[in-house]
């Protein structure tokens, strides 16, 4: 019977955040002292579940892709599989030799030559000296560093050391290979070479676990895919199905950010167009930034205000409402809900991803409270509406449609 090569059962990993386990001696003595005195100081400790009851198995020769958003637990899973850290609960059975490649150039020492580093890195990754000697020439050829093999790698360009790192790792002979997004290195040529190498490994019948954000490489390489979300395995299927599910999750997450309740103001920031909330407004049409909120009774009167930023955090502009809002404007003690709409005219934004950060300013200009990235949206355009026949990205954080006046003069020569 062909039993699975990797079997993961009920795997969980908890991280403690704050509290005891603090890294300073003083903190710990302090904490112990507080305990001894019986003070009922609340422990600021909370538990974060990086992985929660994950089960899956991989059979021999299978290539399994692992996808998920940042913080979904992919790296933690790989770290446990590569024995870098221990699980809190559960069990993994691995049959065969495991090689994991979580970083390119693991164990390199800048002062040593390329030659010495090949041996060092290979040994760190678990190869014996004999094995490395046998593969030495292949590694050097693959990395294309024949000429520099005896210079210290601190003199290498970053591309060269990355190539060397991947070359060493790619020549590891193991039954199970664990790879974490290392393909995202080097120039296009080298990436192609890496993919080729991965295909070669794939046809050699080795089992591979492959984490990537790149849907193309996932689809090209993997037989099967699992999707992690908040430490749980939420889907397992063909790469295409799993990628679709992944996209759904990412989209939903967008919606969630926009409607997230924030503190006691119940702040909601949304983008509206054509009387419906939307995430991909058309830049040619007017749209509305809507802030809905309540004012806590401890607050002074405030002006709602927002900043519009690009995905690179450049501020496109900020706008403040001229209306003061306060809790006290209703005498019947009913809670008051505000809706502050700011209209952005059509023909102002560029077609790109924007983030809105919301602020409440007191009349003397102090920030009473703020919410960074309260809403994210992607402004879109209909390219056929462009006045000139140009299809590339339009530069600038904004792309206002401005009145132009072009006149002609005839001057006698």
């Amino acid at each position: 019977m062909d039993s699975p090569v990797i079997q993961v059962k009920g795997l969980s990993k908890e991280y403690r955040i704050g509290g005891i386990g603090a890294s300073s001696l003083r903190d710990e003595i302090n904490a112990r002292w507080q305990q001894m005195r019986g003070s009922s100081q609340e422990k600021s400790q909370s538990i974060f579940n990086a992985l929660n009851d994950v089960n899956f198995s991989v059979s021999k020769g299978e290539i399994l892709g692992i996808i998920g958003r940042n913080g979904a637990g992919k790296s933690t899973l790989l770290k446990i599989l590569s024995r870098i850290t221990e699980p809190t609960a559960g069990e993994i059975r691995l049959r065969g030799r495991v090689a994991s490649l979580l970083e390119v150039g693991t164990g390199f020492h800048p002062e040593l030559s390329g030659r010495e580093n090949i041996f060092l890195s290979g040994a760190v990754l678990g190869m014996s000296r004999k094995e490395i000697s046998e593969k030495f020439d292949d590694i050097v050829r693959f990395a294309e560093i024949e000429k520099f093999i005896d210079s210290p790698i601190k003199r290498y360009s970053s591309g060269m050391s990355v190539r060397l790192g991947f070359a060493v790792a790619a020549h590891l002979s193991s039954d199970i290979l664990i790879v974490d997004e290392v393909l995202a290195v080097g120039d296009v040529n080298f990436q192609e070479k890496c993919m080729e190498k991965m295909n070669q490994i794939r046809s050699s019948g080795r089992t591979i676990l492959f984490v990537s954000h790149n849907p193309i490489s996932i689809e090209l390489l993997c037989h099967r895919c699992i999707l992690l979300e908040q430490g749980q395995l939420v889907f397992s299927g063909t790469p295409r199905e799993t990628l679709d599910r992944y996209e759904d999750i990412c989209r939903n997450r967008h919606a969630q950010v926009g409607t997230e309740d924030h503190g006691d103001t119940s702040l909601k920031v949304e983008v509206w167009q054509n009387n419906t909330p939307c995430f991909q407004p058309d830049i040619a049409q007017p749209m509305t930034i809507r802030m809905s909120f309540q004012i806590p009774n401890t607050w002074p009167k405030v002006f709602p205000n927002f900043q519009l930023r690009t995905s690179t955090q450049q501020i496109a502009f900020s706008s403040v409402s001229p209306h003061l809002c306060s809790e006290h404007c209703d005498e019947k003690k009913r809670s008051v809900h505000y809706t502050a709409d700011c209209e952005i005219p059509g023909g102002l934004l560029n077609a790109e991803k924007y983030k809105i950060s919301a602020y409440f300013l007191s009349p003397n200009g102090l920030t009473v409270d703020s919410w960074d990235n309260a809403c994210t949206f992607t402004a879109t355009e209909n390219p056929s509406l462009r006045p000139i026949n140009f299809n590339g990205d339009w530069v600038g954080v904004l792309r206002p449609t401005l009145p132009w006046k072009v006149s002609q003069h005839e001057v006698e020569r």
Binding site: K79, R83, T85, E91, I92, S100, E111
Partner: protein, 282 residues
């Protein structure tokens, strides 16, 4: 389900309570390469290179001869001061060098440990082993001066039989250094503060240990306090072997050995326990 050959099982706090010797053997190539790396990298781009390993002890012994011998006039049990200090520094340097290099091994290798698995005791072992290289150089220098002294002095006499003790001392100091380094780096992983104390403690250790003074200078009532330090006996023994300074401190030497033998497995267990989840707190 039984464990098949070639099968790895990962469970919370699984596996042996201390390091698996079979696994360490599988990584012996790594150990050798790390020893080489430590040595080669240390002297890369220095003009004098390994000559530093010669200069350091000689200069230290000269300074000690001037300061403690000529100025402070601390007696040396009738031994020539220069050789007295040089022989005292032999094992002290091995110990201090090892602990200062390996006493922080978890922290120092944190970036490596978060990316790849190998027995985490290996860098400590490599660092300690690479200390044997400067030790051998130092020993060579000492031997040179010692032979010259034997030839020139009328009273000097080589006690050949006593040399049998040397390998014992080497093993003892090495074991002590390993035990203390492992304990210290495990503690440092938990309490970062200790990182700052390491250099200071080693410096202090030089004065607490009878390196620059003979034990005979300490009054009888307080001598037990000196012997509490496990490094006191091997250093005094070394001076007794070569220079016939003082007497063989047999009881302190045996208790120092007992201490080392108890400390090593304990420190390995402690280090093993800390390193398992060390990367979670980096």
């Amino acid at each position: 389900m039984s464990s098949l050959p070639n099968e790895t099982i990962i469970r919370p706090s699984s596996g042996p309570k201390t390091f698996d010797l079979r696994e360490l053997m599988q990584y012996r190539d790594l150990l050798l390469l790390l020893i080489r790396r430590d040595f080669v990298a240390r002297y890369k781009q220095t003009i004098l290179g390994p000559l530093w390993a010669i200069l350091q002890p000689v200069m230290t012994a000269i300074v000690f001869t001037v300061v403690f011998g000529k100025v402070a006039k601390i007696p040396t049990d009738e031994a020539p001061p220069f050789l007295f200090y040089l022989s005292g520094m032999l094992f002290w340097q091995l110990f201090a060098g090892s602990v200062s290099a390996a006493g922080n091994s978890l922290q120092a290798n944190a970036t490596l440990f978060t990316k790849v698995y190998f027995p985490r005791i290996i860098p400590s072992l490599a660092t300690l082993a690479s200390q044997l290289i400067p030790f051998s150089i130092q020993f060579g220098i000492f031997t040179g001066f010692y032979i010259w002294y034997l030839l020139m002095s009328d009273v000097a006499q080589l006690h050949a039989l006593r040399l049998i003790w040397l390998p014992v001392l080497l093993l003892l100091v090495f074991t002590l250094a390993l035990g203390i380094s492992l304990t210290y780096s495990a503690l440092t992983a938990k309490y970062r503060d200790l990182n700052h104390a390491l250099g200071f403690l080693i410096q202090l250790g030089l004065y607490v240990t009878p390196v620059i003074y003979p034990v005979s200078q300490v009054s009888e009532n307080w001598r037990w306090l000196v012997w509490l330090n496990p490094m006191a006996a091997p250093i005094t023994t070394c001076k007794w072997i070569f220079l016939d300074a003082g007497a063989l401190p047999l009881i302190p030497l045996l208790s120092s050995m007992a201490f080392a033998i108890i400390l090593l497995p304990l420190s390995m267990r402690f280090f093993h326990r800390i390193q398992r989840t060390f990367v979670d707190t980096v």
